[in-house]
Subunit: 422 residues, 4 copies
Amino acid sequence: MTEHDVKDLSLAAAGKLKIEWAEQSMPVLRQVRERFAKEQPLKGVRLGACLHVTTETAVLMMTLKAGGAQVALCASNPLSTQDDTAAALVTEYGIPVFAQKGEDNARYYSHLEAVLKTGPQVTMDDGADLISQLHGEGGAGGSLARNVIGGTEETTTGVIRLRAMQKDGVLAFPVIAVNDADTKHLFDNRYGTGQSTLDGILRATNILLAGRSIVVAGFGMCGRGLAARAHGMGARVIVTEVDPLRALEAVMEGYQVLPMAEAAAQADVFVTVTGNTSVIRGEHFARMRDGAILANSGHFNVEIDLETLARQSTARRVVRPFVEEFTQKDGRRLYVLGEGRLINLTAAEGHPAAVMDMSFANQALSVEHLVRRKGQLERRVYRVPVEIDRDIARLKLASMGVVIDQLTDAQQSYLTSWTHGT
Amino acid sequence: MTEHDVKDLSLAAAGKLKIEWAEQSMPVLRQVRERFAKEQPLKGVRLGACLHVTTETAVLMMTLKAGGAQVALCASNPLSTQDDTAAALVTEYGIPVFAQKGEDNARYYSHLEAVLKTGPQVTMDDGADLISQLHGEGGAGGSLARNVIGGTEETTTGVIRLRAMQKDGVLAFPVIAVNDADTKHLFDNRYGTGQSTLDGILRATNILLAGRSIVVAGFGMCGRGLAARAHGMGARVIVTEVDPLRALEAVMEGYQVLPMAEAAAQADVFVTVTGNTSVIRGEHFARMRDGAILANSGHFNVEIDLETLARQSTARRVVRPFVEEFTQKDGRRLYVLGEGRLINLTAAEGHPAAVMDMSFANQALSVEHLVRRKGQLERRVYRVPVEIDRDIARLKLASMGVVIDQLTDAQQSYLTSWTHGT
Amino acid sequence: MTEHDVKDLSLAAAGKLKIEWAEQSMPVLRQVRERFAKEQPLKGVRLGACLHVTTETAVLMMTLKAGGAQVALCASNPLSTQDDTAAALVTEYGIPVFAQKGEDNARYYSHLEAVLKTGPQVTMDDGADLISQLHGEGGAGGSLARNVIGGTEETTTGVIRLRAMQKDGVLAFPVIAVNDADTKHLFDNRYGTGQSTLDGILRATNILLAGRSIVVAGFGMCGRGLAARAHGMGARVIVTEVDPLRALEAVMEGYQVLPMAEAAAQADVFVTVTGNTSVIRGEHFARMRDGAILANSGHFNVEIDLETLARQSTARRVVRPFVEEFTQKDGRRLYVLGEGRLINLTAAEGHPAAVMDMSFANQALSVEHLVRRKGQLERRVYRVPVEIDRDIARLKLASMGVVIDQLTDAQQSYLTSWTHGT
Amino acid sequence: MTEHDVKDLSLAAAGKLKIEWAEQSMPVLRQVRERFAKEQPLKGVRLGACLHVTTETAVLMMTLKAGGAQVALCASNPLSTQDDTAAALVTEYGIPVFAQKGEDNARYYSHLEAVLKTGPQVTMDDGADLISQLHGEGGAGGSLARNVIGGTEETTTGVIRLRAMQKDGVLAFPVIAVNDADTKHLFDNRYGTGQSTLDGILRATNILLAGRSIVVAGFGMCGRGLAARAHGMGARVIVTEVDPLRALEAVMEGYQVLPMAEAAAQADVFVTVTGNTSVIRGEHFARMRDGAILANSGHFNVEIDLETLARQSTARRVVRPFVEEFTQKDGRRLYVLGEGRLINLTAAEGHPAAVMDMSFANQALSVEHLVRRKGQLERRVYRVPVEIDRDIARLKLASMGVVIDQLTDAQQSYLTSWTHGT
């Protein structure tokens, strides 16, 4: 039996059906898998992955395995694991999985360790937990890091951490910032987060979005995707930002831009997608209206300062799955969704397969790139090669049946000349 | 113990929490209940209700009971019952309920009979099933109908049926078309159906809507709500219609308008909200692309011709909860959601409480109106009195903290004079 | 030479080209004209029209004349006349016109008189000025009114006046409220006013709408069209209303709804489309920010209280065509566009021909209806017959190449039966 | 008298009023001017500018002059000159201008020469015509180029040309790509072009956009701005692209993406914003519908192949200002707006001052940067320094009264650490 620590293997059949359903919306990754199966570019490579254990991740794991890799998987978030998917990976696809939905912190870290014990030559991260663990505990100078060809990172948050590591000179091997590929962050972060965050909020609360004020904290790609979707559902969107350029774009898009301290007093729903800490904090809770709903869709559960909220509250209770009520001294009730963890993964199913298709095609092709360039890359954060990026866009369009124009010869030459004029 | 036929009374505690959650978003109905509790306008009136057994309906039942009515409730759709809500109504609020999610047709009709057996003096319908049953089986001339003061009807579909009954001269008592109140159909049908239909589709499939083509069949209030939301989620919307005026509005809103036979070949997702039968049928299935998804959000499960689809298919299987795959002779796979029943109620939780607040305030106040005018109304379909409509709008705005302008005296008089000019 | 009072007949050639351009976008009215030319339904009927003298009106005049009518035309607004169009009507099409852009009040009324002197048997109004004049000056009981078969009215404002006249018992003949036809007010008021109001504001000011706050006063069809377009241009829209139901709709559409007194302090641009008087007045001017821009797109120039504004100002000057600066005591400068008259007609070209096509097809067919029913109608305000309305929608769709579905026999019968059920 | 070749000096008073109006919407540039006036950073520097001669450009010229520069200005497009602005610059502000609206090619180039004759030390371009002229005619090796400290370039098109020059090794001095500043291309190209292109089309044609299909060729910043606005006006947007990534974004935004050959047969309006040549050509004209309207908003008038169109046509005539009708052999009529030149400048007033405020602040500050770094920069294309970019965003927000959040110390440190985890 494949090694594992999953909740209930009897869920495997249900998980398999769901994985097959996701696979249908992942035509690009399917094509990568077919080639991998033939070419075996990852033959014998040990790969440790720390990702949200979802159906889309399952398709990625199968792709890597088809390419010859020996894969082990743990969760990148204690609440995001789909237990049926985890079970199916173990029993149906023979992939070691260490993940249980709702696992506590100790078990979470023991699962990271379980993956590290397989001695991965390639790491794959979603938030840089695996790589940090590997570096943190005698990693960089230790035997573990020496074996690593390279790593990949899926998220904005993780890339920020990795760049900090690079700047501090502690990064032990090359890492590809999958997040920064255009076919990743322009789609997954924007369209994926936009939709799935609302999906999570609706499943958790069943509130009507039309007519409600919603604060979107952060106007990066995730934030603008979320703002667009919230607006599209009829909500009035208020944006908070720390970056003047992004704030100005938000204004020009027709959103109201306010400091959080002001927004706190006006809105019905608050969602953080900043990648930063304590974006909503004590002073803000104090100004919110009775019934305010708070959710986070950034990677870590630090964007809402829940410790302070707990301290400021006189009572707390779960009133619906994923909805916790915090009663304030003055009687106001604030509702925190999914314990402040990624709401799209805790209360819904995470990003739809159609966007993960591109993100994970970037993952698979980046791993292939790392393996093929073994020994040639420096200890720093790399972008996904631009050809990979464009190929994925091309394959995706083709899979959707969308045909686009080609440059004519005359146009090609026009673009490279400078002698034409008015 | 209160009479009932519900699935599992042990779910009552969970149901109670959910009902309380809904109640928070129903401030208008709460105010009605407070007045009813004092004034007892429905003192001793037997009321039979056939509605979707959801948390919002529970709040309505409690309101009617608070007004003095003796209430009995059955489901208006075999798939829309929330079993925990049903249990809570029985054990926590002492209201007889006859409804189980997934009940078969025989049980469905036995539940209608159970309610009729209580000898209702007021009927409350969502789709006119109770009233049809009452009329159909020796009703109009029978003893049952003679006792009825009047009825109310919640849906477009039901009102169409009632108008047909009135035209045929068989309607046995006055009925108020709650559906036609502005504070009902402009909000519930548009914003409620719009959001909850997408919510149901997402919960059932987890597909990415951005970039997908979606056909909205029918551009009434439900259809335009759905089209707006689908567009707001990044989908490309194609509208089909039979009414030239509505079709022209859809064009002017920037949607593509096509006959279904053409749209069938182009789109990824199809949703029917027409109130009519066989809107998507054999000739359309034959032209759809592999992977097409079909859902219905109209009242009855006749808008997609499922019998023909079954006949044209070589295999069928459930691939996810609420997703059934129909394989066609040429290998194409079509996916029908929620057995073609109201997708927002089968796969999601129905309309959010915030819109049902207004719809059900109309219900409660219309029942009060019927009882107060007992004997004064004719055997026909009435509109909700306009004062009720406006009061509800006013209360709703107030509950949201929205203040609006008042006409000045000069403006009042300006509007009624005709002697001013250019 | 045709009788006339127009500014400059030498503009006729330019006017003719423009009329032909408009005609291209009026396929429905063109079809009406072709039939009229054959059938001569208005043979010998004297018709007096008081409309905005634009290219689209010219096409209507030609249509009525083609039907056999003897037409005379004056302006319904002193600033909306296109002098080249007026010239072309006189010299190229032989239609008496009394209208000059910028005419003063005395001349405006003398032009009404000139049309009344032709002894019209049918009146056609845009704001009810002609009909009021006819009634006001010994009209109702006088010889003028006795000859009138009936009238038509184009605007919301005019219909309000006519209903007031009917209520006061002074309306001397039947009038058809063309405004209330679905193919009129759902299109002309919404899409026509929406676009052309912004067009007027942009031509007058060339401001960037993106990122600006715009107050839309009134959320009727004009207001919601304008709000949709302003939002579509990237502005943040604030709605003011006196009607709770409309206000609630505005909230649900995601707009901020405020009383004018609050909105005044927050916004950059203000547009009135209420049909009422003094919607923006002294107390509001006092709270506006330096640089605030005010425009009106309602029928009469009374929506902004310009007298009070002038009184409160220390200086005024025209800084661009159609832009007048009013300096306040505290130095703030407010800018009024187009003297507070219909901005889409003063600074731009009024509604595009494509919407006027439907509105004026309603006009032409309503005149035909009045003449055919001569003597059969009462002294009240009528709706446009529904068959006319639907025919226009059908013709319009056909002209755009849009095909829609037809009800099958099974669907027809389904819609009229009531015995089907869940 | 200041040297000049402008159309009519008597227009100066009108021009001055318009310049003052623009200035009101340019608070950032006003602040730059105030500092320049004090610091005189451009003291004695000769600057030659080739820009659209609009009111906003006038404010820039005054700013540069206030900084101590000796400025000479010619037009960057034969149709975009505002003659009243040109006159005011000469008589009111003492700036030499060589530009007349509608000038022919010979005069256009003589105006470039007139500016080059002033021996500019800094060049400022909008489309790289001045710099090309300077390089082309014995420039690079000649005395003219030797005196030049550096240049700036405003447009995407110009930057493409300059990069080609750099690649060919012929660029004679450093050039700052003002276009690529975030506060320029994210705003001017997107929001400026988006609005003003529609403004130009409406002024030229007065068509209704709602319900019409519009092809946007090119989905760069200009294209997505235009698509957003066209959609916002109720049009159905079809995008054409050659880049798969951009095409995919367009699909995800809900637009239909088609090759031009297919789009040609379906749409009502076509607008090119690609920066390329012959994007709409013979094969496309052949498939268009009667009445199709064609406009260009890219820098050069080569995006629509007008020579071929003329050759394929049997007749052509101007039917409205800026609207030329081309009759095809089969009778279809195609309408080209503004001779295929930048429609927002030929038929409207170009970008609104509020966006040019940022673009031209970038220009002024880039010139200052060039002068301060005289001799330190290489012969290549530079980005605008990022501090300039952010300062402008900050000033702009402040001028709009928008306040944003500041990072707390805890947040600052969080962003630079990598040891936190799940």
